[in-house]
Symmetry: C3
């Protein structure tokens, strides 16, 4: 080497392989975070498309079949028929349950085997067979399921913003399509990290891709994060031209609930929606939402160039990245060991700590925050919203 | 939890992961079932499409190249050229064999290296090179191969129903397309289980999807299973409206042969066909058949809505499942540990036991049932058929 | 078995599984060959398409992002943003570097963090963050990168055939499309083996698929191989009808450089091009080339039937195999344990030995052949070419 040559510093040569913190991102049965997630109810489908046609779904790394029997009861069964293992996805829905296509064993929504038609007396020992199942409940247009230990089943929560309705309010449920994808191919934690990470708004949504929301949201906020006991409330203040302040509160609630007020800020009020990040498995998630609204109203989004995600070219995806690109761009599961967290990441640090603490609490036999066993408990109170204040 | 709450029972929470019995389903060299399978001849192609264009095939988890040299000899070679490993799939067929595209080494159907054209004297040491090969024989319009230990090679069986031909009978071979798939993506054992499992007929083919065959086949039969020494014969009786009885015999013969009479019951007679479930590998199989027939005659099948499988929508596949859905719906390899076998499963229990016994016999150095080393042995006698009887 | 039956010999039954020599084919950091490869500069893109739109590339099993900042500097960065791991592929190129889409951290081409816009004072501690990067240099229309230990960075070589230019000569760079594929799905070593393997020319390119080059190249040559110190020079002689001799020299230079004269033999002269086999990873490679030429001149290739590779049917690919089929046909990584090398393989044996020796030398702390630390060293001298001689 020439004696005067500068030696490069900081190159990628010799760096150690990065690793994810799987304690945060695991979803399967028996894992630490999988056990925490299983102590809560999760949305697994829309009321409106849970029908007599069985649906194959995947929730917390488990494959399941969701259907509604002809008497209107939703059912969620392990898909492999207890008899010979054929999937009940090809089963026929009847009044009393779901009948396997292969030999006709009939199971009700709680997995009881009601008929084995080829067997003598339609199955003398059919009572000894149970198709594995999970309890479900319907609320807010969503089917919720509980995949946890039966003796720990909490009541299905109600939410103030969805319960306190004006006479003409309706509740609309959705399985939200994010940038062309109903199932997003990365860990749900990338999105949950994003909830208290409000500083990304003026960059990703406010300057990098132009103004994706509205001008006032593109302004750099001042942010404080507050522990709420069951999550993290992000409190962002933006000075407006008229001297007033936009006060925006965003809530992340354990284990996977987000209250994100309308980013279009069409009104100043409490957030009118609750949404859930459903872990499909370790590297996929879906977003379910329930919104209280006047009939016909829709949140407005700015689409770059007026194109849908699927219609955009690859250079356009690079030019106009959105949450999808930012989150999926972290890989299937982000490499936590490589992160350099800064002061603006305080909110997600608080949220991750709470998740790990609560997973540890469950491992120690305790009940996690936010679960209630009292059917008469009042609706959960929320704080999220956009507010116009003087200060 | 509320004191009066019922605790759910039988949920899918905490269930143990299911496991297959790989002793039944393995196909690779050196596995117990792979060793049993390798003691028999298997169809690996049709005479009619074994040509001068090499075909890449997969048999018992082994990749091979099938071709016919210009003197008419079929050959089955290990695909990686002994010289430098290029696939012989791109080789050129000549009078004496198959020539590698890369450096022109020429191999005959028994793997002898006949030429190394770039080497001095066309390869002074070419006799020391042998391209791995398998013996093949042609019969009934099929190419049969023997992938087992050379010193144990049995004679290629003949079958009475294919040998006893009227003057105008023809033998037609086929590599059957099942629900749009020539290669079915699941273990061959799912189909072999299905052969003595005759009770699925009135459900899967008789009521679940409407009448797929004919009305008399949709009636619930009475079934007995008989050991035949080399397999299991299923004897099904169905009462007809005129007081007569449809007696139907279906045979499963080790290791993977099925004699399934025409499910359309167009005539009452011995089954006119023999078919083979070729294990492509552990999770794929093909169905080869040879049928004795009058020229032009075809078995008739009822297609739901008159649509081919590929033309059906996903909801139509759910509405009209067939053997394909039932068998592939058991997964790539079924989870035997999760099965709840019942009285109607006796036939497949007998068949699985026989397979495991014979695999064990081979492991102990014995010859398995059904192999013969006598070239003058008479054709194998079969019993399968549809018969009309009084009883 | 019949007593007089011949027992088959040399069948594929019972053969042992083949294995590759991974010491030759590994490309990842920390592997023996990966360490050797990392002691040299490699082309990773064309000058002409390294632009303000970031490109996701893969080199020696490492994922990277290549771009050019608005002041014209090319940059090659580890793709996961040092902050929170989002890919810089969706970043925005600015005058001073590449800005992450998510929170706007700005990195220059050497990975320095210039801005953290959401942090107080644009990041009081931003100097402590370094985005992993690799040094790049531009020459001959190519972007070269050095992925090795910084203290061992050699000078980027110059080549005589590219440096000695007539006034109207131009240098044209290309990322060559081989049989429809810019990225070839097999180990780069299959192609490097092919460079001294000149005997394949009269077979693969001269008879098997007809004359792919020109008639004189289809003649069987006499070949000698010479050690050049830094590689292997293949010297092939072909007698022509007029009594003259076509002398063709092909060079393979460590670690992955080839000098292959125009196979169309349009002129008798030194080869006018240098090309590099870029290992994308263990099972994929690309071919970069720089050629000195008169404006407008193109090498001519014979296409079978005048069709492009993508337009050819599968039987046509079998009928007209080319280097792509021969090399990809060896599998993702060839199985060296199964090879039967012959006298005509001496060249590749010499080349593989040299690669393994040099990898061992690097493991022992030595510098490998062909690297220079002297910026004033003259261009590397080459010998490859097509020459017409009397002998």
């Amino acid at each position: 080497m020439a004696l005067d040559a500068r030696i490069d510093e900081g190159t990628a040569y010799g760096r150690r392989p990065g690793t994810p913190n799987r304690d945060l991102t695991d979803t399967a049965p028996g894992t630490k975070m999988g056990n925490l997630l299983r102590r809560y109810w999760h949305p697994v489908g829309l009321t409106s498309d849970t029908t007599e046609r069985p649906k194959a779904i995947r929730v917390l790394s488990e494959d399941l079949v969701l259907f509604r029997d002809k008497e209107g009861r939703p059912g969620l069964l392990y898909p492999r028929c207890a008899h010979r293992g054929t999937t009940l996805y090809y089963g026929k829905v009847e009044e009393r349950g779901l009948r396997c296509c292969y030999h006709g064993w009939l199971f009700d929504v709680e997995g009881h085997c009601l008929e084995q038609p080829c067997e003598p007396e339609a199955g003398r020992h059919r009572d000894q067979v149970r198709q594995p199942w999970y309890p479900v409940e319907e609320r807010y247009g969503l089917i919720f399921a509980y995949l946890g230990p039966p003796e720990k089943k909490p009541v299905l929560p109600r939410w103030d913003v969805l319960e306190e309705r004006a006479p003409d309010d309706v509740i609309e449920a959705s399985d939200y399509i994010q940038s062309g994808h109903k199932i997003v191919p990365c860990s749900w934690t990338h999105h949950f990290d994003n909830v208290p990470d409000h500083y990304h708004v003026p960059i990703l949504h406010g300057s990098n891709s132009g103004t994706q929301f509205v001008e006032m949201m593109s302004r750099m906020p001042k942010i404080a994060w507050e522990h709420t006991g069951r999550g993290v409330c992000t409190v962002a203040r933006r000075k407006l031209d008229d001297g007033k302040t936009l006060l925006r509160r965003v809530e992340a609630i354990l284990p996977n609930i987000r209250l994100v007020p309308d980013p279009g800020v069409s009104r100043f009020e409490k957030s009118e929606s609750v949404s859930w990040l459903l872990p499909v498995d370790d590297t996929h998630y879906m977003l379910y939402a329930a919104i209280r609204k006047k009939p016909g109203w829709q949140r407005a989004f700015t689409k770059p160039g007026g194109k849908s995600w699927d219609d955009m070219t690859e250079p356009e995806h690079q030019q106009f990245p959105d949450d999808y690109e930012a989150q999926v761009g972290q890989g299937p599961i982000t490499l936590h060991s490589e992160e350099h967290l800064a002061t603006t990441d305080q909110g997600l640090v608080m949220l991750r700590r709470l998740l790990l603490q609560q997973a540890e609490a469950v491992a120690e036999g305790k009940d996690p925050v936010g679960v209630s066993f009292d059917p008469k408990a009042p609706p959960d109170a929320t704080r999220a919203g956009n507010f116009l204040i003087d200060e």
